[in-house]
């Protein structure tokens, strides 16, 4: 008895109260936003269970209980059962495909009485635990191909099952584990390649092919200068390229041949590349050859994007085009984002005040208490309020990373980073979509969006980590 009491005191002593404080603050702000988003003058009692804010209050109470129970549990449970829980959750994900309820085209829900549970939200927790378990094993090295594939497999299975539910947004969340893998030693080149791919993707869709090709060639030359520190070579190559291009262009112009300038530039660059490779091979400078090859990979990628993109489903094309600002139609596909930007933008510096948002009151923004809850924050609390939310969220994420970094066990560290990554992904994508910076992907804003599943899932994620952290002195 004595010992137990002692442990209990220890628990609350070692609990990171800062994280709990931010968590509580965010949930409270979230509830106020939901209240404002669904407020209707005919139902004004906050405990009205027929209204969403009334229900959310109930979900919050349950979340509190869940958090408390987790803190009382033995932290060994999570390390020991990480893999069984993961497998169990895979079973649930398969089950929901069979007997789940379909909502908005996604078969991703269980109807239990009047409560609706979304297993995908909880799969994040088990996957995060499993990742921590696998990656935290002594001898695990992400740089080893076999280990890398182990980690990717752990992520890919639930992600695929969730894609099968037709809930791509929730599946994309698993890409957030790239943060953990990077921290644990993923070769630097992979994230850089990822970023490069994204940049090429965007550029290809934004600008004419010739311009993209010119940018790639220009980038290659800059990289060569950086590596070689030899201006002379590069200028010669550039001069030859321009001469080639100009002469071929001149010839085709006089012969009245219709060859696109893209192809002229491409073939000119091909000649330069081959010449360059021969030149460097002769000089035994192998280091720069990968740069030239990479530039061709980029060209190929760019071509691939321009080839595949028109074959994507129209709504996906539209969403991407919209973010890129290529189309602007306030009523059709861009309706949500347009209205959400109007709502947020009209908030001004200090906002219109609690319950005074005209855009949200008149329900201009669809899904305004779930995926687009940030509109209410932006409209009613203005720049100051929305910045505060972003700052608090970022602070929470960074606090979790800081806590993760002080863990003794790899399991706890990796798990904590995983939690931070998931939160960061949700934050970036959700708020990004409401302010028009990222495509519309239907994932909730942690602690703000209405819904029990998402609130409970984030609560469990964070409280398991808090429990692990409070026990960090015990070697695991």
């Amino acid at each position: 008895m004595l010992q137990r009491g002692y442990r209990q005191t220890k628990l609350f002593e070692h609990l990171d109260w800062l994280t709990v404080l931010i968590y509580v603050a965010l949930i409270f702000m979230g509830w106020i936003s939901i209240y404002a988003a669904v407020y209707d003058e005919t139902h004004s009692s906050i405990f009205d269970i027929s209204q969403r804010y009334g229900k959310q209050l109930l979900w919050m109470g349950i979340a509190g209980v869940i958090g408390f129970v987790i803190l009382l549990m033995d932290s060994k449970f999570f390390t020991m059962f990480a893999i069984p829980l993961y497998i169990l959750m895979l079973g649930v994900l398969v089950l929901v495909l069979k007997i789940g309820t379909e909502v908005n085209g996604a078969r991703a829900w269980f109807d239990i009485g009047s409560i609706r549970i979304q297993p995908a939200e909880f799969a994040k927790i088990t996957t995060c635990l499993a990742m921590a378990k696998i990656m935290g094993k002594p001898g695990f090295k992400i740089t080893k191909v076999i280990d890398f594939f182990k980690a990717v497999t752990i992520l890919a299975i639930p992600a695929l099952l969730i894609i099968l539910q037709n809930d791509t947004g929730s599946a994309l969340v698993y890409s957030s584990f790239i943060l953990v893998m990077y921290r644990e030693g993923l070769p630097q080149i992979l994230p850089i390649l990822l970023i490069a791919t994204i940049v090429i993707f965007i550029f290809t869709l934004m600008y004419p092919a010739t311009a993209v090709l010119s940018i790639i060639i220009f980038g290659t030359f800059v990289a060569l200068i950086y590596y070689r520190q030899h201006f002379y070579e590069v200028f010669i190559a550039l001069a030859i390229l321009i001469a080639l291009y100009a002469s071929v262009y001149g010839v085709t112009y006089f012969l009245n041949m219709e060859i696109e300038s893209y192809h002229i530039l491409l073939s000119s660059y091909l000649v330069i590349t081959i010449g360059g490779i021969i030149y460097y091979l002769k000089k035994h400078i192998k280091k720069v050859i990968p740069i030239l090859l990479l530039s061709w990979m980029a060209i190929g990628g760019s071509y691939g994007v321009s080839y595949i993109f028109p074959k994507l489903p129209q709504h996906q094309q539209d969403r991407i085009n919209l973010v890129l600002g290529k189309i602007d139609d306030p009523k059709n596909i861009g309706y949500n984002v347009n209205q959400s930007q109007i709502a947020i933008g009209s908030g001004g510096l200090t906002g219109k005040g609690f319950l005074n948002g005209t855009q949200t009151k008149y329900e201009f923004v669809p899904e305004q208490e779930t995926d687009f809850i940030f509109c209410t924050v932006g409209e009613e609390w203005g720049f100051l309020g929305s910045s505060l939310v972003i700052l608090l969220m970022s602070a929470l994420i960074m606090r979790i990373i800081a806590l993760a970094e002080r863990q003794r066990s790899a399991f706890s560290r990796i798990y904590g980073l995983g939690v931070a990554g998931i939160l960061f992904f949700h934050l970036t994508i959700n708020i990004g979509m409401t302010i028009g910076l990222t495509p519309v992907i239907g994932i909730p804003l942690p602690f703000f969006s209405y819904g029990g599943s998402s609130l409970w899932a984030f609560t469990i994620l964070i409280f398991i980590f808090l429990k692990l952290d409070s026990n960090r002195m015990q070697a695991l």
Binding site: E41, L179, Y182, R183, E184, G185, K331, N332, Y335, Q339, Q341, I342, A343, I344, G345, S346, G347, G348, L349, T358, Q359, Y362, E363, F364, P366, G378, G382, F383, S386, S387, I390, L391, M393, S394, I397, M398, I401, E405, R406, R408, R413, L417, F424, T428, I431, G432, I435, L437
Partner: protein
């Protein structure tokens, strides 16, 4: 700590800080640096508009449109959008309403809801709307919605159509289907009420984007959430609007009711309550005023004389009495009773008309002989088949009920009276004994005394006779939309041959009896006159008729207040209507009668 890649956490911190920074900068640009979104938000206001469907039209039996719709407008206000002071006086002048009424109505809207639009002035006509539309931009918070109002292609028969008005709170509360909202219209009387569910159609909704000047900027979410309204079903009535028109001409300056039914189908061809009123009086802003005026009218135009007035049926009831006597076997067609222009039985005396004596059954109908029916009545009630008068009366009563007496027979007319055939208990109470004698209720023998019928029941009685023993539920609506309504057939337990004997008498009454004035060339008309005693003045005259004798096309009851003896007004009016309906026009020799009837007045105020 224990990790080679420790430094990478700084990269991660940097990514998070950078993202937060980019987002905050973006928010700063959107919310603080530019007014673009604030301007857009001002131009963004959603308005939910109810789209009111036109009510179904009403057609007559020949497909002539009698009741249709005209456009009208309601002015709505959303109190919280009303900015500061506005020129109330101008608004009131445009609309032509009292300032006080307007203020009261506005206060009501404010109480209803500050943020929802509600009707402040309803039923604005097109010409006023044209002026209002120009000025509406000056009145923030006010908007106009399109409605339809009834328009009528005839200026009578308001009693049939009924009228439409704003739905009352109690109707909204009682409606389990939750269809109605404040400001909706609902059928209040007549067919408008009886067929409300079919006529009203279903409301639609339209979501519009409006800017802060109240200008519609387009539909919200591309109309994705709009619900189309559906027009109400048309109803085809069984009325003959041309005949109706003619009957109203004949009934000018007379009070009374006429109702005609097609015996084979139970379809009401004619339903005239005079004086009637123009249904257009009950439409638009003036309705309240007009209603008050009609209510004060001494001639009671709001009183439906075809279904709401009940009187003793008088001699028309003799036909039914003869039928029951025959069926019970207490008399035969050849039964003859003495009549010396009146008759005395102890304390009871009863007058009669000058006619030959004694008469048989046919003759008794032809000449409407009172003593004959007193004898018949006595035999019915003192029949040896029954223990006592009371039992015999109960049996007799059951026959009368089969004719639709003492009950509401037409479900379409909920405001109709049931009439009265008293129960045995009624007389037990009156006479304080169950052993009452036939002579206590002798007046019933000739349709006087306690029994009461409305003209619809008299017309239906004519149908029963014309059909030789059954009637179809009388009705005025044949079909709703494309679906025809089936009506119930009611059989009477009296043999067909007895009906033919009574019909003989009714034929003779037209040819050489009390109702000669109703003769129509080459048509065998059968009828029976009656008089309802009126203690306040001249008696009311009643005429029950059907024609032709074989395959009857029309059965009718005519009842003229203060019309005196039937032959003076009721019979010639009946004759003219029969001729008009069966022949299509009035023959030359009847023109004089037609003229006399149209010009005569029985209203002495």
């Amino acid at each position: 700590m224990s990790n080679y890649y420790n430094h990478r956490k700084f990269v991660i911190y940097a990514v998070i800080v950078l993202t937060a920074f980019i987002y905050i900068v973006r928010l700063f640009c959107m919310q603080v640096l530019t007014d673009e979104y604030k301007i857009k938000a001002d131009g963004n206001s959603k308005r939910k508009q109810t789209v009111y469907p036109p009510r179904g039209m009403m057609l007559d039996r020949n497909g002539v449109i009698m009741v249709e719709n005209q456009p009208a407008y309601d002015l709505l206000v959303t109190p919280r959008e009303v900015k500061g002071t506005f020129d109330t006086l101008e608004l009131v002048n445009i609309l032509g309403v009292e300032l006080e009424t307007f203020k009261k109505s506005f206060e009501k809207c404010r109480k209803y809801s500050r943020s929802r639009a509600s009707v402040v002035v309803s039923q604005i006509t097109s010409d006023k709307y044209a002026i209002l539309q120009e000025k509406l931009h000056k009145y923030a918070g006010f908007e106009v919605q399109t409605r339809t109002l009834r328009s009528y292609n005839l200026n009578h028969s308001a009693d049939v159509f009924g009228y439409v008005g704003e739905v009352s709170q109690s109707t909204i509360d009682k409606d389990t289907s939750k269809y109605y909202a404040s400001g909706d219209y609902v059928g209040i009387t007549g067919l408008e009420k009886a067929y409300e569910k079919h006529l009203r159609g279903s409301k639609g909704y339209r979501y519009l984007l409006v800017d802060k000047y109240n200008q519609v900027k387009g539909s919200y979410a591309d109309g994705e959430y709009d619900i189309a309204s559906q027009m109400g079903d048309n109803i085809t009535t069984t009325m003959d609007s041309e005949l109706q028109e003619y009957a109203y001409q004949l009934m000018q300056n007379k009070r009374g009711g006429i109702i005609a039914i097609e015996p084979a189908t139970g379809e009401i061809i004619l339903k005239v309550s005079s004086p009637g009123y123009d249904p257009a009086l009950m439409v638009g802003l003036e309705r309240g005023k007009n209603y008050g005026m009609l209510q004060k009218d001494k001639n009671l135009p709001l009183f439906d004389r075809t279904i709401q007035s009940t009187y003793p049926p008088g001699s028309t009831f003799k036909t039914l009495q003869a039928l029951i006597g025959l069926e019970l076997g207490v008399i035969t067609p050849d039964s003859k009773f003495q009549c010396r222009a009146g008759w005395n039985f102890g304390a009871i005396s009863m007058g009669c008309h000058q006619h030959a004596s004694p008469l048989d059954l046919r003759g008794s109908i032809q000449h409407s002989c009172n003593p004959w029916y007193v004898q018949n009545w006595r035999r019915i009630l003192e029949s040896s088949k029954f223990e006592n008068v009371r039992e015999a009366y109960i049996n007799w009563r059951s026959y009368t009920l089969q004719f639709g007496l003492g009950q509401k027979i037409a479900p379409e007319f909920p405001s109709a009276t049931a009439g009265l055939i008293p129960t045995a208990e009624f007389f037990d109470k009156r006479f304080r004994t169950k052993k009452w004698r036939w002579s206590y209720i002798s007046s019933i023998s000739i349709g006087q005394g306690e029994i009461l019928m409305n003209p619809l029941q008299i017309a239906n009685m004519a149908c029963c006779i014309a059909n030789r023993g059954h009637y179809i539920t009388p009705h005025i609506v044949r079909s709703i939309g494309d679906s025809t309504i089936a009506y119930e057939k009611h059989d009477i337990d009296i043999q067909k041959r007895y009906f033919d004997i009574v019909i003989d008498g009714m034929e003779q009454a037209i040819k050489g009896g009390t109702a000669k004035g109703a003769m129509v060339d080459s048509v065998v008309v059968c009828g029976k006159t009656g008089t309802a005693q009126n203690p306040h003045g001249e008696d009311h005259s009643i005429f029950m008729v059907f024609a032709p004798r074989e395959n009857p096309k029309i059965a009718m009851a005519i009842y003229i207040e203060n019309g005196g003896f039937g032959a003076t007004y009721a019979v010639p009016i009946g004759g003219l209507i029969l001729e008009k309906y069966l022949k299509g026009e009035i023959s030359e020799k009847k023109k004089a009668v037609e003229k006399r009837i149209m010009e005569s007045s029985l209203i002495y105020d």
